[in-house]
Amino acid sequence: MVNITITPEDQNRKEKILEIHLQLFSILRDKLPPELKGQTKIQLVEGSTLKDLLIELAIDRRVAISVNDVQERDHSRTLADGDEVKIFTSVSGG
């Protein structure tokens, strides 16, 4: 497990830690150590959003995201414990 702790400005949200299942695709895999092959569990502070996650992972390119296998383009979405987050690059042809 990779421990990435988001530190939100609101210190009151520190009490609870969420565990998120993360899978990164294509070159986004490079954000994690190679042996993880793009998959890991990460810990986030309760109240963290998809935007917080993208910032923490230093992903600033255009991406497509699914949460629990449902496409999600609202990056302000608050994540919940046990969520499965998949992040893709945007290429759609091929």
């Binding site: 070159i27 497509a64 296998d69 496409q71 383009r73 042809g93």
Partner: protein, 640 residues
Amino acid sequence: MAHGYHGKILHVNLTAGEFAVEEPGEDFYRKYLGGSALALYYLLKDMPPGADPLEPENILVLALSVVTGASISGQSRLTAAAKSPLTGAIGDSQGGGFFPAELKNAGFDAVVVKGKSPKPVYLWIHDGEYELRDAAHIWGSITGVAEQTIREELGDKKIEVMQIGPAGENAVRFAGIFSNSNRANGRTGMGAVMGSKNLKAVAVRGKIRPSIADKTRLSTLAKWGAANLSDSDIAGLAKYGTNETTGANQNSGTLPTYNYNSGVFDGWEKIDGPTMYDTVLKGAAEGKQDREGRDTCYACTVRCKRVVEIQEGPYKVDPTYGGPEYETTSTFGSYCAIDDLAAICKANEICNQYGMDTISCGATISWAYEAFNEGKLTPEDTDGLDLSWGNAESMVKLTEKIARREGFGDLLAEGSERAAKSIGRGTEAYLITFKGQEAPAHMPRVKRSLAVIYAVNPFGADHQSHEHDPVIEDDFEYYEERLGALGFNARVETHALNREKMRFTVATQRLYSAMDSLNLCQFVYGSTWQLYGPDDIVELVQAVTGWEDFSYADIEKVGERRINMMRMFNAREGFDRRQDLIPEKLFKPLKGGASDGWKLDKDEVEGALDTYFELSGWDVKSGIPTPEKLEELGLAWIVK
């Protein structure tokens, strides 16, 4: 003075062994730009309707565009066009590499091949000179051997060779034309046409480079692309090849599996781009795959082409023959429920050696797999091969049998539609063909405008003939600036097949149609996620040609003109809306994953087709361009 092109078309009459050089003026190039539209001009003008695709009356055109050979990414591509022996309709195939730029350097913008040589020959074009040479000694050779032989006998290892393999000689109906032994003008059987003419290869070399109107503008555009590649949406394509999309397709339920019965494949991670990168790319064992395992086309910084080397195990693979694209890992992989990456790479190698389209070949094999698993084919039909889902060994054997037209392979070499008609027993229900051409690995039951494009596209199912649905749908990141430039300012509901989706379909079809006439790579240039957008294409054409008044309206017009020319070619051959059919399988629900239960609805599709024809300005009932539309596009000459 012309910039970017020579203004010279080489005509070759193989029957008589005669040549002619035509020099059309600037108006001709501005009207057609090159590539597919230029090829269509000669097919419509010079080929009689009803020609047998494998007889001398068929015409094969190899065409470049006004920007081919310019020093910028994504331009070294070529159109091969003729009447298709697979579909009986227009055949059109695009391919890249180094040959296109070298043909331009050799002094010509296109080669129009007519007739049939009395014996095998190859065409040698160099610095404006041309000759036919005996090819008896390389007839029957696989691509790598023939290419090497030609280079040695002409004494120049920098010669580029475009050729057919034994499959083209054997008239496999989905044989392609190959350069560099690994770059395919794969689709619609153009290799079979070339083989029917006893033309083994075209070899080119030269130093006659057309001038560039504004080298500074071109250089600025090229440098911008190189500088922005790593931050662009095709950065993953560069590193992992087209196979980078396998995971995303799996997630969205759009990875065709079990011959298009499902959109998800349990073994997807064993055949995706990152796994290829980590395991089978040349140099992967030493961590050198970025240098040794990726290849490119002339002047392209993207380097998306795969180079596979496997030295151990049952499937050894020679890097000479490149590596599989996403389409190939899908058709030989998930279509057949095969997760053996080495076997897939072997099938790809066989296709590149023998000269076959990996999409139609793999999809034809997956048709046979479904028929076998449904009990409609038995080992007696298949020369004893066990075609159970996932059987990699049989898939590799069948690929070679098809190329050689041996036993059961002889039947499959006809393509799945003819094979199903021959076998009968209800096997037509397993077809995924449009106008007789097998569907590529993009799922119309989810990306639903593909259903319309696959159906109406004059050369059968094609995934590179418009922009796919997600870029304009609710769930996807929106490309506001580029889509706005195309006239789209709002998202469309996900999976919709409404009028706005059809407007998007028609608009992007025209753009992609024009790009097939400019011979531009559709990963480097395009509507949205590509490195360069529509405005950049205008900039490219202006910089290379000096046509300062060239605008996006001209791109739209050429794109529309080409589509109309193809529809008119087909109309002459008896095609109309009645052949714009969607296979029955796609009206049945997918099983499993995110696309579970998704299917097409016949009434909805028919309504979308009505809208498509209306927006195209064609007769809605027949799907044929109207005389008024042809007049508007400067194509009235086709019917006079």
